[in-house]
Point group: none
DNA sequence: GATGAATGAGGCTTCATTCAT
DNA sequence: AATGAATGAAGCCTCATTCAT
């Protein structure tokens, strides 16, 4: 799986053939299929493994925060921090999620209706609105905007050598603060 | 090219084989290769064609605006409006840009250093800062955030039937306004 | 298809890989798949082609006969005569029919319920019974016996160099005559 | 071996991989190769085991009969009776015998020249002719006809749910009686 | 006695491309 | 201008077998 992640991150979805993955791992293609029932299984495993660890890290971080503003900030910070330390893994997952398709041609990993990841962020936003910490906005669409800013980062890391994740995190935090209106609330307190 | 765009939008990069494209166009594979020197040429043509028309639409829209705040707003509005009317084309370009790779394994259409599209938006932001209309922020990173919000929309249109581009545009405009600080400037005037 | 038949007849079902068939035809595997949509299609085509021609030959021969006894005799004679002139083709069809299986594991070409080939022979037998030419017997089971004697011949031709089809035909005709009781009818005339 | 027989009978020769056989037996592939030197050895063992027991049953049954007509009848009856009680085993053997081939491409289990099974039946027929019980016929070819009628039964059991072995046995016995002419002899006595 | 790990050969199929017409 | 024929590389996967434990 580690080698699969590397190849996916470096060579993209189409470049991640079993042959290439096996070559990188110094084993034969057959070994990969000995441990995974097929390529789909391998890719699924990568996705769920990374998703699982990322989700855990985020949940852990959020558990330390109480105010909605701090929760959102922790959410963004943890996401980008996880990305910093697991850049290739996130890159690999993005490649898989955006390219893997089933026999019917539909995306295999993109939820068609309700997206749990998005729904989670959306709820954090709504909580802030409920408590009066946040201004009025459409939580669904703002969640999409914030997620897109998070998801784009892994790509930037690859193509933009000058992309500094620390500064990006700071800028995004400030945008989120302004967008949610957290700032004003603190002012009025 | 029209059929290539349709197939790319519906079936993704891997599903867009010459055979499939030709089948949809009701012609033979050979015809495609008669008009384009190869698959790469076909994809390039699609990218440049769409990019060209999108760029033209944006340039035209910006020429009507004068203040930095209005320019940025027009930029966002025109981008999303173009997407609304050319959803498949944008989707196709995204598929190509994020997947096409040269023989060396590097992305074919993602500029490695300076990204002209990003640089353009970045400059609009800097102009607003220069004129005092915008607050202090890192123009490069904010540009990335805004672009990501724009680019994610084409994907949402595909998987999320409830995604309403009009509301999304409104929300994004409001975020951009807050993020650039355009609002406050107007307040103080 | 001719080469596929040859390989099937000589090397059996498992030996009849696309590679081997293509090698024998002096072409590349791809060419086979250019003319047939897949291996299944190739095998189907062989089966239906041979079946069609055999069925036509039999129908033609039966049309010249009137009495039930002569019809059955013509049926047997034509079947074995067709086999004599198209030994490899029959051998190939037998290999396919008895080995080809669908994804669910069931035979692809063996009719699960009503077997039209068997039903045809069965009806010939029943006609003879209806007209009083034949004795009492179970038409279904006798049809199975006669067909098995016909079908076994192609295998014999392969493994038994001393197998002489002319003599076999004569013996089988005599058995069929005795089994149907055609003989007695002639006695009573 | 029991599981190998089941798989062969249900899934056919191509479906009978070591993996599948081991899976059904609830053991690992390695165990199979620990007890048998290879797949060929496993299949050989199945063939000889079943052949041995079938031959024994037949020999035992024949030893109770004296007249040629009764011997032939017992031969047919015992063959089909054994099939009834060991359908899967016979089916498995048929699959192996008709498909297994050596490296040179020739059948592994089909005797190229003299077939002992056929020769045995042939001799029974000749004995009947020698004693004057049977009419004149070509013993070799009649033996082939009778064997084919016996061998086809295992296949019928699989594809034809309405195939009733008892009735088939009765019909075949009657055909054999007529074909050998046993009946007339008894009449004239 | 039993097994998990690993492998290389081979199977079917898809694909972008070349060539002659 | 258009196309059918042909190809070789590559992709995923199955299989019988070997080896060390």
């Amino acid at each position: 799986m580690k080698c699969a992640i590397e190849v996916l991150a470096e060579s993209g979805y189409s470049g991640a053939s079993l042959a290439e993955i096996a070559r990188r791992a110094g084993i034969s293609k057959s070994v990969v299929l000995y441990y995974f029932s097929g390529k789909d299984d391998l890719l699924s495993s990568v996705v769920f493994d990374v998703y699982g660890r990322a989700g855990q890290a985020i949940a852990e971080a959020l558990s330390h925060e109480t105010s909605p503003g701090e929760k959102i900030a922790a959410y963004v910070r943890t996401n980008l921090h996880f990305l910093e330390e697991h850049a290739a893994e996130i890159r690999a997952v993005v490649e898989i999620v955006s390219n893997a398709r089933g026999a019917d041609g539909t995306h295999s990993f993109v939820p068609q209706g309700e997206d749990p990841v998005l729904a989670h962020l959306e709820e954090l936003l709504r909580e802030g609105q409920g408590s009066g910490d946040f201004r009025e906005f459409d939580a669904h669409y703002l969640a999409i905007i914030i997620r897109s800013a998070i998801d784009t980062a892994s790509g930037r890391l690859v193509v933009d050598p000058s992309f500094y994740l620390g500064a990006y995190t700071r800028e995004l935090l400030s945008v989120v603060e302004l967008a949610t209106g957290t700032h004003r609330t603190e002012d009025s307190s």
